[in-house]
């Protein structure tokens, strides 16, 4: 059985990764809105880490044998939090309006893991399908990190989220995947 501690720690780790993805995308597209979400997630991370600490104390009290494990967990938590703080500091650059230097966007585009945008057209085979059934990461190499729908965002979408016409996807992945991913979204490629 998955313990409460493992479940909370999983959320901590996954959130830190989502934050980093979002932070880089806020930088690339100079989007204060995405950056604000990273800051909000940073607050959430602090709450979560407090709850994890409480749980560790509980575990330590109940079974002193587990204290060594608790120490290791605490150390690892500190490092995961450090990743989320790094993400927060990147988002902070955007919020402060200091993300204009063109080299920032170029470096993200040049890196092994690049990012791109794709808009779902009416005739796209991605329309009205859930991320769970599309498994885009496996099929295209691109991992969707956010969806812009009308004026709102879905950050860190899950398998149950259904793509709709006119959604703009923000995704990360290898450069070789970008063209095909965009073609699937704009309807010019009909096979996943």
């Amino acid at each position: 059985m998955k313990s409460k501690l493992v479940a909370m720690f999983l959320e901590l780790k996954d959130t830190s990764e989502t934050m980093l993805d979002l932070a880089y995308s806020s930088l690339l597209y100079d989007s204060a809105e995405i950056a604000e979400e990273v800051l909000a997630l940073a607050d959430k991370m602090r709450d979560l880490s407090d709850r994890i600490m409480d749980e560790i104390v509980q575990v330590g009290r109940a079974s002193p044998d587990e204290v060594a494990k608790a120490v290791v967990t605490t150390r690892l938590m500190g490092n995961v939090l450090e990743i989320s703080e790094a993400a927060r500091s990147i988002a902070d650059v955007v919020v402060r309006g200091l993300a204009e230097h063109p080299v920032l966007a170029m470096s993200i585009r040049d890196s092994d893991t690049t990012m791109c945008l794709a808009k779902i057209a009416g005739n796209s085979i991605l329309a009205d399908k859930s991320l769970g059934e599309l498994t885009l990461s496996t099929n295209t190499g691109m991992f969707v990190i956010a969806i812009k729908r009308d004026d709102d965002y879905i950050f860190g979408p899950g398998p149950e989220d259904v793509l709709r016409v006119d959604d703009i996807l923000i995704a990360r992945g290898p450069e070789e995947s970008v063209s095909n991913f965009k073609d699937l979204a704009d309807g010019s490629e009909r096979e996943l």
Binding site: S31, A68, C116, S137, M142, G173
Partner: protein
Amino acid sequence: MNDPEDHTSLKHADRSVRELLTDMKDTSEVITDLAYASLMYDSQDMADKVRELEEEMDDLKFAIRYKVLLASRTREDARQLSGLLEVASAADRISNAASDTVNLLRFPKEKRPLITEVLTEADEKIRSMRIRDGSSMIGKTIGELMVEACTGCKIIALKGRHGWVYDPEDDTKIRVNDDIIVRGTDDGADLLKEFADGVREWEYPEVPEDEEEAEEEAEEVEQSEMELTEEIRGDDE
């Protein structure tokens, strides 16, 4: 000794800020994957690679500061470059966290079971698999196969005839009985395992046939990025 044109004392000082920042971002991602994997597979060897990358990151950090300070001529330069330095230091923080993570290896494996549980259940997992006889991956390079584009999985380490290679290059050839450690979603890793086991033939994605087509494709991508960036920022702020 203080010749301002003498770049030799500082590593990477001949490279551009753009190259340095790209390298820092790439390194921060590789080092995080390797740090988690080293705990999962209890690998001191992988931890050493993490420490090596961390040292490399320090060299990159000093080089980028040096280049940025040299490039700053006006107040506006200084303003924009301050943002750039903050992003560079974020990559450095990530690599520091990774090198601290591998220090946890000094605790015996039974004292850190939670880590393995977490790493086997996260959204993107770390898994290992072997290239079996009959796999269509054999004899091909990672770049030829475009492993990440085809499966969404990134090969973070490979054990071949000459031992482990961490963060293998695109020109690394896959051989029979190689062990690979990958990071990716469950579906992606399941698919990759079928390829590795040889029960499924590698499916190559469509690639541009010649330079002209590649150029056209790149232009289309650039055009679409520009339009959609406008759209996404349209009602921002």
